[in-house]
């Protein structure tokens, strides 16, 4: 096999991508200048830019929650539209700013995704779950706890543990630490950085604050607003 090593290590590639949202009158508004981006193994890219430029929309487009206006996104060299969406989403783990849970215990929370057909792996055993919880600084006894009784920071850490147990290849993090206490935020950042080091992993992390961006990685990717449409002379 004679494959380009650079292409080998590229997990996600975004080519001349345009994203649009529809306003109330069903008119499309282009959000950004064309996006070109490469995410390679071991990389963690902070995604920055003014609000309304579609940072969240870009992550959502990567897992096909949002349609693509123009251009394309490749995962492992293949267009994301060539994967069934459920399978694609087990490979690209999207983490929301506010986590959601089906009511139940932490154990049930961690096991829930393994009932889906697209999740081909066996459900993790108790050791694997406890281990994952401890890696985000949560005590093992928490596994019996009702998820709704946890604090915001603990919930978000459970959400990260749940995502990592699915063994995704890429993490797409939509400001996961925006509303959290410092300790939880740090535990999440450290866990993600550690996860990147082990295995062929990478991540994109939407960040609003400069200090967090600097902690994540040296070079952020900046989204820029699309130029305002010029008014027709009439």
């Amino acid at each position: 096999m004679t494959s380009d090593p650079e292409q080998e290590s590229c997990l996600l590639a975004v080519d001349s991508l345009l994203l649009a949202v529809e306003d109330r009158e069903d008119r499309k508004r282009i959000l950004t200048k064309p996006i070109d981006m490469r995410l390679s193994v071991g990389q963690i890219i902070p995604l920055v830019g003014p609000s309304g430029t579609g940072k969240s929309t870009l992550l959502r487009a990567m897992v096909r929650f949002h349609p693509i206006e123009k251009g394309r996104i490749l995962f492992l060299g293949k267009d994301i539209h060539d994967y069934p969406p459920p399978f694609l989403r087990t490979r690209l783990g999207l983490m929301f700013q506010t986590p959601s849970f089906t009511p139940g215990t932490v154990r049930q929370t961690l096991l829930e995704p393994f009932a889906y057909r697209a999740v081909e792996q066996d459900a993790p055993d108790e050791t694997a779950m406890v281990d994952e919880l401890e890696q985000v600084g949560l005590p093992r006894k928490l596994i019996e706890e009702d998820i709704e009784r946890l604090s915001g920071g603990e919930k978000q850490r459970v959400a990260l543990a749940r995502l990592l147990l699915l063994h995704p290849q890429v993490l797409l993090l939509d400001e996961p630490t925006a509303n959290l206490d410092e300790e939880s935020a740090e535990l999440i950042l450290n866990r993600v950085k550690d996860w990147i080091k082990h295995g062929r992993h990478a991540a994109i992390w939407i960040s609003h604050t400069r200090s967090l961006t600097e902690q994540i990685a040296a070079t952020p990717y900046r989204l820029e607003a699309a130029p305002k449409e010029e008014k027709a002379d009439d």
Partner: protein
């Protein structure tokens, strides 16, 4: 009809209108400001039921299959429209889903009941088929309305949770399964509760009507039991069908919840 049947004259009905006048005087005394609504309601009761009576008398008298068919379809259409009117959120195409599920469940159950259980010949004999169909539609209308209302508002309010499941690799169906289950349960609750208390607190309207018309209580009871079972079946079938059809309306082919629900 048995001997105990007492026919009412128009004068008797007119006397009963005195009760409405009494209610009107009371609401005037207490300044409820609803005398007008009360009067309109009373007039509508007489007019609508009068029209229904004329329609039924005609249909019963002519005893024609096509006429029964037209009336039945009109009833299904009206019930479907009412179920839709009760929805705040209406995805495109839902009217067909609702009317379709009502038609399938109501016709299926009412034909089985008149043809097999009651054994009327022909199965569409108007005095049996039309009232049974009416009862089925009235109740499944309730079931569908509650189920869909629950389902569609969950699609809006529980969006984050549904997207969470999708983001973990759930298919559209897997992601919304708990919502479908919960909605169907809600739609079935009224009839389940009704079956639990029937005869204890009050006698159902149909049975009361039969007793007033002089029917044997045992016969009336048998009919009422059949009717309850029939309503339970029709409500469940109609709500389940409407939910399964509505489920397709809220997702795109990308296994994503449609925006703007």
């Amino acid at each position: 009809m048995t001997s105990g049947y007492t026919s009412l004259s128009l004068l008797d009905v007119g006397l009963a209108a005195g009760f409405v006048v009494l209610a009107g005087i009371l609401s005037l005394l207490f300044r409820l400001g609803i005398v007008k609504s009360l009067l309109i309601g009373a007039v509508r009761t007489a007019a609508q039921l009068g029209l229904a009576g004329i329609a039924l008398k005609t249909v019963f008298g002519l005893n024609q299959f096509w006429l029964v068919g037209i009336l039945a379809l009109a009833m299904v259409g009206l019930a479907g429209r009412e179920a839709l009117n009760r929805q705040k959120i209406r995805p495109k195409g839902m009217a067909i889903d609702v009317i379709g599920s009502m038609a399938v469940s109501a016709f299926l159950v009412s034909i089985l009941v008149t043809g097999v259980v009651v054994g009327s010949d022909p199965w569409w004999r108007p005095p049996i088929f039309i009232p049974l169909l009416g009862m089925i539609l009235g109740n499944s209308l309730n079931g569908i309305s509650i189920s869909l209302e629950r389902f569609l508002s969950a699609c809006r309010n529980d969006r984050a949770r549904i997207e969470m499941r999708l983001s973990h690799g759930a298919t559209a169906h897997e992601s919304i399964q708990p919502v479908v289950r919960e909605s169907l349960r809600a739609g079935m609750m009224p009839i389940i509760n009704a079956m639990a208390i029937v005869g204890l607190v009050s006698l159902p309207g149909m049975m009361t009507g039969q007793l007033l018309a002089g029917a044997d209580p045992v016969d009336a009871v048998k009919y009422q039991v059949v009717v309850m079972y029939m309503i339970a079946a029709a409500t469940t079938i109609a709500s389940a069908m409407a939910l399964l059809l509505a489920r397709r309306r809220v997702f795109t082919s990308d296994h994503t919840l449609k925006p703007g629900l």
